[in-house]
Amino acid sequence: MLHRDPASFRDPDGFVFSLDGTLYRSVTPAARVLLVDSKAFFSAAIERGLLLPFELDADVPECVATDIRSVIKPEIIDLITYPHEWCFEQFKHAALNTLDVNILALEHGLTLKDASAFNTQMHSGVTVFIDHTSFEPTDGKLPWRPYSQFCRHFLNPLVMGAYRDIHVGSFFRMNLDGVPQQTANDFLPWRARFVPSIAMHMFLHNRFIRRSSEFEAKNARAKEVSPRGDQLDLLRQLRAFVQSLKPAKAVSTWASYYSQTNYDDTTFAKKKELVAASFEGRRLGTIWDVGANDGTFSRLVAGSADRTLALDLDHNAVNACYVENRERGDRSIHALVYDVCNPTPALGFENAERSTLEQRSKADVVLALAVIHHLSITNNIPLDQSADYFASRGKELLIEFVGPGDSQVKRLLAQKNTSYDWYTEQNFQAAFSKRFNLESRQEIPGTDRYFYRLVRLK
């Protein structure tokens, strides 16, 4: 059955649909001509790893609606992710990819029609541009039409993240069209205006945005801006500036977690051993590592699955995980910002444009190490509800129960003035056995921590 992608309605030149598990993009005759005539550009972009490979003129299944004339078949992306789940460095790579694709396109007489952050994805460990109908012919002169969108989707969040310790993607949860210029400017310290690129692209640019209605009132044809200057100069300048941005220095609670825990080297090695043994000789589709921190354990188990989602609420820890994955060339780990207590919501038109992570990924195994005490004590989530949460995410759960005698739990309890006498291993077993079969329980020597293997009840 044909299923039209609910997020693919903005571009008049084509839309994405799936049929019997295969993904297609329908293209209008005009868009097809551009794809054929600019074959050299598309081949070069794919060869350089900038663009998602696709098959032109794929066979149109006969059952498809008659108004679809031609289709392209893009390669399947392993996991679709959204800007509100990305860390700083992933954002930066997405911005650089958008600029690099456009710079290459200019060499072939093309430019981008839009610069949406949703047009880039991770594919086989690198950031690629996925919207094949986003290009149009150009003479290479300014104005560069996607400029305003590029600022909202990329430049503003990145500059904000370079000056303030914030999760740059979180603004996309509030507004799928990125960060408005005024909002971004209000976030920046006063000293930021003395950086020429920020003064130009953010503050001076904002003056013109705010005067838009005045321009329109004065001159109805003002949109026909006379060409002046080259798009290439603007794109190169933006590229150099984006490349220079680094995340703001932050004292993160979690990014240095493993150097501050109460594990000594022996117990930490034992924990690693227990986790590794649970995956030995297995071949899985998807592992969710909830509370993955810098991805130490995700990397340990990634070899046993097609994909591993290293999920954590701390954007600095996710950034560290992402950077290390890139350095190691680890292509199967997706480091994403994800909060169990406030997971990625369904967003956009009809709440169907951007889906929840659960709608995009089902786990075969959920790994939850040193998480349950934070759910129970920090967030007051009853053990029954935690069990429900994990049971609805994956068939199998590998969970570390951190007992009330653990020093980290004692630290959490010291900040609370209510009783948590219900937080016991006995109650944990009772709550989780309602949803899972208890397969094994192993003590992590020298700690009040226990490693459980649980399989969901049918």
Partner: protein, 73 residues
């Protein structure tokens, strides 16, 4: 450093003389397009500066390379 200060001073002056309007309805696209006409001047100056800098650097690189080859002899 000096270049940054000059640019910041120029942009600061431009910011100071551009009045802030108070409109309720804003079409941000139009202002962005018009802004690029202004920005083109800055970009041209920037591109010229980079070109000039590259020429100077390549001049010194050539001299250095020449000196190096002479020393080897």
């Amino acid at each position: 450093m000096r270049r940054s200060l000059v640019c910041a001073a120029l942009l600061g002056a431009l910011l100071a003389i551009t009045p802030e309007p108070a409109y309720a309805y804003i079409d941000p696209g139009l202002g962005s397009l018009l802004f690029q006409s202004v920005m083109a001047g800055f970009l041209a100056v920037g591109a010229a500066w980079v070109g000039f800098k590259m020429k100077i650097m390549s001049f010194f690189d050539r001299r250095k390379a020449k000196k190096g080859s002479e020393t080897k002899k």
